[in-house]
């Protein structure tokens, strides 16, 4: 079945964009192989504030607080603040337990005001020179603060991102996301070489407090305030670094419905922030971020939608056609499955599209492999996850992206 020329063209353009992005990553990786990061440990350790916004996290907040309190860092230099965003469950009680012992300071919102508001409220009372945020369902490894701080020796660094992993990888969905997060750790590192990190994940990204205040804190109107913060930091001329080695762990969605809602929020947020910061697009003032990363991201999203729409259309078209044709032969299905000539089928497969498809998958596979190696994770336990990630996940994300665009265009209500 020959595809109409416009569908072929759309697919080629989309594939070109993705391969281009992949090649950039590979070049950046090869360029920076074996180089050491620009870090220097502080002679005098500074005070570090840790903000934990929480809404109905009674099941996990204890673990989070304990993980933070167990950090390998002088207790007197740690300033832990929990912000209870008007939780309806036992979150407040658990936090008060720690507050009572003087381990943390507790802020209570009345009524529920959202994550960004909570963080901004905590910012006002932070004692530290540096601040980190962590979700109330995540944990961190003990040395994380010591691993992140040295990057701030360079005064132009506004924020440093950790290596964020998925905590549990039991179900297939979790394993696929595990692979995705590993790839993202690697890509963030590559982005740091280009100074184009566009998201500072809310699971222990560390910020210079003066910079947070300079940019006016977190955007309370935003679906993805952690992405907006990153772009804001760039806008004010600061750098964002990344440490492949500093581990933080988060829970990821275990059900498809949850995943859909999460990605919808992420992608809608990305679209909104892209619109808000459109002055960065193709603007040489913003270097690699403005000239490469943001525009190609935009084009990639547009291509995804175009491919999805055109493929859906062509499949629907073929489907209706198929049903009509079957009616002509009185729905004698079985006759369609005649002897399959293997040689002919293989012959048919050998085309430009196939060659390019193989090239693209090879690039993607290589990137995935490299990311696992760089992050020091063994593939063996998770082969199924990776293969699925490589092949299936992109298509699923395509549909989520399409949904996000539809929601944004229709101006749907913002919902967490």
């Amino acid at each position: 079945m020959a595809l109409p020329i416009y569908i072929l063209a759309i697919n080629y353009v989309a594939w070109f964009v993705f391969m281009f992005i992949a090649v950039v990553w590979i070049i950046v990786m090869l360029n920076n192989r074996g180089k050491t990061d620009r870090t220097r440990a502080f002679k005098k350790l500074p005070v570090v504030s840790i903000m934990i916004p929480a809404y109905n996290e009674e099941k996990t907040i204890r673990k989070t607080i304990e993980s933070v309190l167990s950090l390998d860092y002088p207790k007197n230099l740690l300033d832990v603040i929990v912000i209870n965003d008007c939780s309806k469950d036992g979150t407040r009680k658990i936090a008060e337990e720690f507050a009572g012992r003087g381990d943390i300071r507790l802020l209570n919102n009345e009524p529920n005001r959202g994550k960004a508001y909570s963080l901004n409220r905590a910012l006002k009372i932070c004692r530290g020179e540096f601040a980190a945020c962590i979700d109330a369902d995540s944990i961190v490894e003990a040395p994380i603060v010591r691993k992140l701080l040295p990057y701030f020796y360079d005064e132009t660094v506004g924020s440093v991102t950790p290596a964020l992993k998925v905590w549990r990888k039991e179900s297939l969905l979790e394993r696929v996301q595990y692979a995705e997060y590993i790839l993202n750790i690697f890509l963030r590192k590559m982005l740091s070489f280009l100074d184009s990190i566009h998201v500072t994940p809310g699971v222990f990204s560390m910020y210079r407090l003066s910079v947070l205040k300079e940019v006016g804190g977190f955007d309370e109107d935003n679906l993805t305030e952690d992405m907006e913060m990153a772009l804001k930091i760039h806008e004010h001329g600061y750098k964002i670094e990344s440490n492949l080695d500093a581990m933080s762990y988060t829970m990821c969605p275990t059900k498809w419905g949850e995943l859909y809602r999460q990605r919808l929020r992420w992608y809608r947020g990305a679209i909104e922030n892209m619109a808000k910061y459109k002055h960065m697009l193709f603007n040489p003032e913003y270097g690699n971020l403005g000239m490469f990363f943001l525009p190609t991201n935009l084009i990639a999203i547009a291509s995804i939608i175009a491919v999805f729409a055109s493929t859906a259309y062509s499949y629907m078209d073929s489907a209706t056609n198929a049903v009509w044709r079957l009616s002509l032969i009185n729905f004698d299905f079985l006759s369609l499955f005649g002897k399959i000539d293997l040689a002919m089928t293989l012959e048919e497969l050998m085309t430009t599209s196939f060659a390019l498809g193989v090239a693209g998958i090879a690039l993607g596979g290589y990137l995935l492999l490299t990311s696992f190696r760089s992050v020091g994770v063994k593939m063996r336990g998770n082969i199924v996850g990776y293969l699925l990630y490589l092949l299936m996940f992109p298509f699923i994300m395509m549909t989520f992206w399409s949904a996000a665009i539809v929601h944004e265009v229709a101006g749907a209500r913002k919902k967490w």
Partner: protein, 220 residues
Amino acid sequence: MAERKKRLDKGILVSALVITGLIFFSGFFIGYNLNTEKLSVVKNDITAVTKDIQNFQLEFLLLDVLGENSTCPLLSSTLSDINERSEKIGTRLDKLSPDSEIKDYASYVDMKREYSRLLIGYWLLANKFKNACESNVSTIIYFYAKECDGCGDQSFVLTYLKRQYNETLLIFALDADLDEPGIKTVKEYYNVTAYPTLVVNGIVWSGFQKTEDLQSQLVK
């Protein structure tokens, strides 16, 4: 505000663009070569079938000498060989249709014309065989064209019938748009003006023919 311009690694971006471009160019280059390969395979097949048809013609001469009982089985088996080979060529040519990434259009058209000539010769011989050996083989000439609404459906129906009837149904698909004298002659002979048009065992049917209608025409 830290007044600095963000880093712009033009070198990396340009290199990546060039490399991706090279990958794409290689892809198209490979595709083009693969298509040329496929065309040469078709050419070889056509040569082989042409030889088969020559054999068929020779065997016909034996009819007069050795009589029907000895010769007809031989003719019948050669006919099925030709049938199989010719079908393969047809399918291959279809898959190499202009919609895909074929660039050597002239060679492709030449091959289609050669194939059509082959089909006409094959059809003539099949008719001769039918009469001489009193076989129950049915023949359908199928005229199709680009500007033809029912052709896609007709091809589908014919493919289905071919699977049902196997060697007792011989289908000769002729592209009416081809600039080939043989096709023009047969068209004029059967007065073909609209498409699709089927000539079923010598009887002309203009327009799309349903499965049931065709089945009633074919010998059981």
